[in-house]
Symmetry: C2
Subunit: 245 residues, 2 copies
DNA sequence: TTGAGCAAGGGTATTCAGTACCCTCCCGCG
DNA sequence: CGCGGGAGGGTACTGAATACCCTTGCTCAA
């Protein structure tokens, strides 16, 4: 399509393109979709790709990995993204943005993602593998939150549950989009699902992207409530009275 | 939590005890703990158990299954437990009780559970398998909630996120107990974790079995802050000053 | 220019999980 | 007595994954 001779201003540096890796993925998916995953052997794949059997395992540790060729990079991106977080950031918003990295990876190749979704639905082994990949994302988010919530009373529990919630919400919207054939833009649905979690969980400001509350108005807000009132209800009242969101 | 029936078996009928199955589990764990999981072959196990290789796969579909010998039964118990739910039950409480079924399975064999925990921490393949088992529990809970929340606006999303939260909270407390060596009773910690989820998730109804917002103090709290202060920071300050758990 | 070094890929043999197929007991029942 | 079925045993086979070694081609320094 577009000659990528010059360095594009992409955020994801996949410039040192390995042609062999992509040839293996293409060959594998062609066979997987034609005969099925378990009916395709590694020898089938490498013979179609025109490479040696040994080279397959040079690029993919296992047969399942060829189905998820860019999750490792995405996981590294997420880790780096969270490590680059500032202490002043809202941790919940940061984690939601980290989840959006995964969404973007799927949305970048809609057809590929939908095909893979069809495979994972049918093959139990691939579903297991996908679940373990999702679990790695969740662990990464939880680890970040665990540090950010270290000073809180139930910080670890909060971190684990919140990470699980974010992942579940993200996957819910993502699967809806995949089931629909990957048509359109899934970001809106994911934003809705994530804001649902943020509202019920730490219902602070719900803005697009970073969710920064730019300090235009330095007014002072006074809140009076009973101690027994749930925090989420207090926040909801404050937000609606401030006209936010 | 309520299981007191006159005959001792509450929900778990393990009466037709297959001696061979348990002999295989014992032999497998003896070898796994001695040499490690991957260093032990199926032939090692069956020769120690004194049975034929074919018999192993008669009882366990794969090598990993011998490490989790009673999850299938527990999953069936959970499904049955949820199917026996009445429409008048609080779905959230029901799901928490379902999660407690898993806890009880672990707590019934503390030493075994701790040994297995040591294995799953070391062997990536076993961790993957365990994650996929947890995912099956989560799916079961989510399916139940999906039906119960069918009339709500975001019922499916709510069901998925809540199921993930319950599972995460349960696993958090369970792993704490396992890391501590399986000493004592884990039910209290799990109850605490589950009530944490219930408080943040369905704050409108905090009924029996764990909800302790316990409106002892109906004092009035006054909060003064700048509008530009992020809401999450306000919440944290209020929570810590209130000494909430 | 040449040769050392090295990176990338190829090829083959081996291990082991998992499956298919068939065999032998054993036990009850007609 | 014969028969049928279930529980267990044994063997051969497929295929994923690994180990080990070979070839090719490129770079860089002597």
């Amino acid at each position: 399509m577009s000659e990528a001779r010059d360095p594009l201003p992409g955020v994801t540096p996949a410039q040192p393109k390995p042609p062999m890796r992509e040839a293996l993925v293409d060959a594998a998916f062609e066979l997987f979709l034609a005969r099925g995953y378990e009916q395709t052997t590694i020898d089938d794949i490498v013979s179609l790709a025109g490479v040696g059997r040994r080279s397959f395992f040079r690029y993919f540790p296992s047969k399942e990995d060829v189905v998820f060729p860019d999750h490792e990079r995405c996981l590294a991106d997420m880790t780096e993204f969270l490590a680059a977080s500032a202490d002043t950031d809202d941790p919940v918003a940061r984690v939601c943005d980290a989840a959006r990295l995964v969404l973007r990876m799927y949305a970048e190749k809609p057809a590929f993602s939908v095909q893979r979704y069809g495979l994972t639905r049918q093959v139990p082994g691939l579903r297991t593998y996908e679940v373990s990949v999702v679990w790695k994302y969740e662990r990464t988010l939880a680890e970040y939150l665990r540090v950010r919530f270290a000073d809180r009373p139930d910080g670890k529990l909060r971190a684990n549950v919140l990470a699980a919630s974010v992942v579940a919400a993200h996957n819910h919207a993502l699967r809806d989009w995949l089931r629909a054939g990957g048509k359109g833009d899934p970001t809106e649905a994911v934003d809705r699902a994530l804001s649902f979690v943020r509202q019920t969980w730490s219902p602070e400001a719900d803005g697009p992207g970073g969710g920064q509350t730019a300090g235009e108005s330095e007014d002072v807000v006074v809140v009076i409530t009973k101690r027994s009132t749930p925090m989420w209800r207090v926040v909801r009242e404050v937000e609606s009275s401030l006209g936010e969101n």
